[in-house]
Amino acid sequence: MDPSHIRNFSIIAHIDHGKSTLADRLLEVTGALSHREMMDQVLDSMDLERERGITIKAHAVRLDYRASDGDMYQLNLIDTPGHVDFTYEVSRSLQACEGALLVVDASQGVEAQTLANTYLALNHNLEILPVINKIDLPSAEPDRIKEQIEQVIGLDASEAVLASAKQGTGIPEILEEIVRKVPPPKGSPDDPLRALIFDSWFDPYRGVIILARVVDGRIRMGQRVRLWSNGRTYEVEGIGYQSPKPIPCQELAAGEVGFLYCNIKTVSDAQIGDTIVDDANPAPEALPGFQEIKPMVFAGLYPVESHEHGLLRDALEKLRLNDSAFNFEPENSAALGFGFRCGFLGLLHLEIVQERLEREFEIDLITTAPGVRYLVTLLNGDVIEVDNPTKFPNPAEIKQIEEPIIDATIITREEYIGEILKLVEEKRGMQKKFEYIGTGRVLINYELPLNEIVLDFYDRLKSASRGYASLDYHMAGHRVSPMVKLDVLVAGEPVDALSIIVHREFAYDRGKGLIERLRRLIPRQMFEVALQAAIGNKVIARETISAIRKNVLAKCYGGDISRKRKLLEKQKEGKRRMKRVGRVEIPQEAFLAVLKVAGDSSD
């Protein structure tokens, strides 16, 4: 189609502000789907996405729309992931668009996530069309929200569409606005091919399927294409677009969005943000903005049953086929046996992988405390990256340690700001901005160590704000910090899986909290067990678990031997599920204790 009649747009919205309902409406009104098909077709995605109400993978749907000027337009709706862990993916999806609908709930107002993604869109010079949704609610205050959009984002909201996706109001206006205000794509179909990969996934029958936006030129069936970042070449075996069912076609031209597959075996070969060029006539330059995705959060994954190690490796390899953002390498823990050190984009990403392993592959896992990657400068001048406490160099050889820092924005109601400030201060935050945005709402901007976020920040923020706080962050470099490695010794033996890297000032409290918690989680053993928290050789906290005093079965009533045997069997089975470190049996929960030792040690 003539690029002048193409519009590429995405939807920016906070969770629950009505993005999916709006998308469904747009599909329905343009006739892409009947009302009946809506349920099973549109959200043909992972269970996890549906359950959590978040989008993990991007989608791109083509809508054919006859505008009021009488012309047919091709509207491409590019649905982006909606979580801070996936900021890079969001930015690539936005790069594939010329415009974005900014959907704000008419009673809730602007949230941190919305704000961050809107700025991201503005950075890509997208035309932003504000939509105030849920105006049918009695608590809707569209005028106040307009004001807030202008004040917080600095966007003219005077022409914002007032909509209720639920009731279908405002949908035709939104479609007209898209045609009228979103600029048509600029590229020319006659230039050499440049297409942006903004998502990819693995299909067992076709190999990797790429979602791409053709920026310049054309991409055709049978064409030999090259991926810019790795120089590999492939022949296009299939090409098409989603409407929302996949519809094959012969080519995609400049401005268009669609999918293609070309026998790529793993998604790590088709990285998000990479540029597809023609192999015979390559464009001289790649599209800007490509980055290798770097994991930010690291944790050890171990099978509860050590014989499932091979199973876990196979499962990780399968997941990695479809998710190049996480990586793993074998790791050996004295406490937990053979497992894998895995890197993730963030905590949600970690949780997703963990849940998929448990659900889709039915593997019971022990996850060690998530941590971050430190830059450690040694006395000899070498700089090494350390993301695993067990690989932390000897403190005597360390010149300095830099920890990753994030720039975090939190929006909340003013009644919770006191609690939240206490929390971010406790988390070693540095205030950069404090602003009242409209009535009763506050925006704060803090620099925070990522290490503090991965511990329990989300839960704490949620409880401090009763759920009325939204958080967004992006990486903001490194800062030199006095970090130390805190070890836990059980009966004199260091338990590697319980070691954490912690700020020196927090080491005592955290060590004390941790072993207090462990004392409650580790059952009494046949002998007294000493629990110690130590930095290097220096013990900073100590607890004792006294020996079991009694474990006796009293009655064998009327000769009921089976009951007795069953009880012994149950006790034995309970032990079998624990991990043995030295002579001590440690239950799985103990390894999770590390996750919950901030501030107070109460449960």
């Binding site: 046949m526 079991i548 474990n551 089976s562 012994l568 006790q571």
Partner: protein, 364 residues
């Protein structure tokens, strides 16, 4: 020679600490049950003569004397070497005791649990220490010399002092047999459940901790030994020669036949049980159907350890049986939990208190 166990799961009230399938049921069911029991007894083809009979419960002392006579009359071997009646203190009259004796009962096991009044009341029982001593005297006067006193260590409110008082009063009864159990906390009893859920009912908050309960038990072991009633099994104590012949069969893996509901049997090779509820039992017996459930072959290699080691005499340290466990036994001996003396493998004093930890080693 085999023993017979007759189960009577009916009680006047359900005790807070009780984790058995017994309790209060409708009156009609109680009668139907006795009818079914007589019916089932009539179907037993006695190819052997019971050496011992044991009425357990529940509260079998509630069985009306004529019915009891009828039950015992159906079994060969009168007078039996040992015929025990479990009884709740508080309902034993001279007439009843005489009726028992005439029917063949020659041993009574009294569910005393404590000899300190407030502790007794909190369990839901209604007797007093005086009633216990009167009834013990009465039984002896009627010719039932062998009396066992059941005690529980770890009842709500129990202290070192109150426990000592219970033991003093026990001594005054001159028992030739006693049982001391440590309270079992599990979800099958009201009290156990309350403790697990962190509640306050039944004195759940006043239950002594494990360490104290263990201490009470050890005090009892020492005191009873001093009275000339040493321990012969983890929970059982007797003047030498007065051990319960019937109960020893359980630990020595000798055969016994269980009749009634929730009763267990062992024929030297197979173990089986009967239905748990009296209603189910009655139904099966009336239909003429088999009451045998969960029949399975006993695992001798396991049982000889977790049953035999409960006895003070331990088990014969025969090389054939011991050798496969050499490594485990060495470890347990090094930890001071088992010892071998005069060719017998036994639990040590500490081993008794953590016997489950020892027994687990022999469970496959």
């Amino acid at each position: 020679m085999p023993g017979v166990y007759i189960s009577y799961p009916f009680c006047a009230q359900k005790c807070t600490y009780c984790n058995f399938a017994s309790g209060v049921f409708p009156r009609q069911l109680e009668q139907d049950y006795l009818g079914a029991l007589l019916l089932e007894l009539g179907r037993v083809r006695w190819q052997w003569t019971p050496e011992t009979i044991y009425f357990g419960g529940g509260t079998p002392s509630l069985i009306p004397a004529p019915v009891l006579r009828g039950i015992l009359a159906q079994m060969p071997g009168f007078p039996w070497r040992e015929a025990t009646m479990e009884a709740a203190p508080g309902g034993i009259t001279a007439d009843l005791a005489a009726a028992w004796r005439e029917a063949g009962i020659n041993r009574v096991s009294l569910g005393v649990q404590s000899l300190v009044e407030p502790e007794i009341r909190r369990t839901g029982r209604k007797h007093t220490p005086d009633i216990v001593s009167q009834e013990v005297a009465l039984l002896r006067a009627e010719g039932i010399e062998r009396v066992n006193i059941d005690l529980i260590a770890g009842l709500p409110g129990q202290t070192a002092e109150s426990w000592a008082l219970t033991l003093d009063r026990l001594e005054a009864l001159h028992p030739d047999h006693a049982s001391v159990y440590m309270l079992e906390v599990d979800e099958d009893s009201r009290l156990g459940n309350e403790i697990l859920l962190g509640g306050v009912r039944y004195g759940a908050r006043d239950v002594p901790d494990d360490d104290n309960t263990a201490r009470f038990y050890e005090t009892a072991v020492d005191r009873l030994a001093a009275m000339g009633v040493p321990r012969y099994e983890i929970s059982n104590f007797a003047r030498p020669g007065h051990e319960s012949v019937h109960n020893l069969k359980y630990w020595r893996r000798e055969p016994y036949l269980g009749l009634g509901s929730d009763a267990h049997s062992f024929d030297g090779r197979w173990r089986w049980r009967t239905p748990e509820t009296p209603a189910e039992y009655v139904k099966l017996v009336r239909e003429g159907a088999s009451t045998v459930m969960e029949r399975e072959e006993a695992d001798e290699a396991e049982e000889r350890f977790f049953l035999g080691l409960r006895l003070d005499e331990g088990i014969a340290a025969e090389p054939d049986a011991i050798a496969p466990h050499g490594e485990v036994l060495e470890r347990l001996a090094a930890a001071g939990l088992v010892e071998t003396t005069s060719q017998r493998l036994r639990l040590t004093r500490r081993g008794v208190l953590v016997s489950n930890e020892v027994f687990q080693e022999f469970i496959r």
